[in-house]
Symmetry: C2
Subunit: 254 residues, 2 copies
Amino acid sequence: MIGLGPGRAGTMTGDARAALAAAEVVVGYKTYLALAGDLIEGKEIISSTMTKELDRAAAAVEAALEGRTVALISSGDPGIYAMSPVVFELIKAQGIDLGPKDLEVEIVPGVAAVTAAASLLGAPLSHDFACISLSDRLTPWEVIEKRLDAAAGADFVIALYNPKSRGRDWQYGKALEIIGRHRGTDTPVGVVGRAMREGQTVRIHDLGAAAQAEVDMQTLVIIGNSNSFRLGDRLVTPRGYMNKYGNKWQGEEG
Amino acid sequence: MIGLGPGRAGTMTGDARAALAAAEVVVGYKTYLALAGDLIEGKEIISSTMTKELDRAAAAVEAALEGRTVALISSGDPGIYAMSPVVFELIKAQGIDLGPKDLEVEIVPGVAAVTAAASLLGAPLSHDFACISLSDRLTPWEVIEKRLDAAAGADFVIALYNPKSRGRDWQYGKALEIIGRHRGTDTPVGVVGRAMREGQTVRIHDLGAAAQAEVDMQTLVIIGNSNSFRLGDRLVTPRGYMNKYGNKWQGEEG
């Protein structure tokens, strides 16, 4: 299971390239297959649409059990709202044993979408942070709401995955409202669309106006904590070095 | 500011390699300079010890203001408990303008230590998760404690950075105790030391026994949520596909 990184070829690791090269069969959503580019030329390809995660996992496991070397690809990292848990859930349900005699599974981590988005914004994640998906397709909304409230109340930086989709349009506004109970309307919010892919957008809003931002399934939204600040067109969450050492340091400089 | 990834050369992205190659000056902690290997041969090197983050940031900014192309390197991702916020804090304190005429800053994201550790464990992060550093050098312990309690209470997977250091030995046990108020003693806990570096260790404990695990500043500890399970020697947090679609899917298979 290979994480390709967020987008263009340069975001892929050497390990991911090598693992793709070694694969006989490549399984993936068609957009991700495009990201893999000419690294997968000449290989057997099994592609599917976005909502068929379980089918993709099953196809990959089946081909691997036939003794073939299979690359199941995700964008970003395969373990963050991606394919690796789906494969393990399936392996468990089918009672397949893990190991060299049965099924060997290796995971090649990638640059996660959230760190790619953060790098474009500046340094928003730089203190304790929480990642929350707003998709209630597999998770009850009450659980998501509780997590939003807890994370906001404890002053975590909050990264929202899957803020909105075609059939799911109110969760994003509701999430900002919950976070707004704990944080000022001027809290900076970074909104990154299609990080490191064609059509990339990077914007910073105030929390009070962030509900108006255009978001979709390829958008990452990062809400600063109570110490986050804007610096020019960047969003920064300080670790606190200047608070603790700043005076001394400035003193040394005169 | 370049993220080298967690360890061995294969975990570095193409973008990171290219950015290192383009740099005239490389600034970094000496362990990270070793990770960069022969990519930095022949360049001016400014190295420092671990606790001198502010000195490293200042040296990088100073060299960049002289008009040189500077690579400030971090292991993992530069924005997760690493150098990029320190640089921005310094830039803010010194009133330096960001932009092509003054100081241009670009961040090259890397595979974060937490995703590398997760990939070695299986798929522990695969639902909503929170990252918390146990270092109270710059953050009051009461803030950390509140975050541990909130994250555990809302059933986040929890990744602990910096669990223990030479001068800081009780926070890790205390953190597990706080989490244990909300989660069963049999909750699986992944403990990964030196992920993807020489001396790597990967272990899974029960929460009730995890306090006895050996941990240090290069250890990542990942505590599962209430649905996480062990599968052979792996730790998995399900996304819930088998719950929702499993019966139908098994039905299709007969």
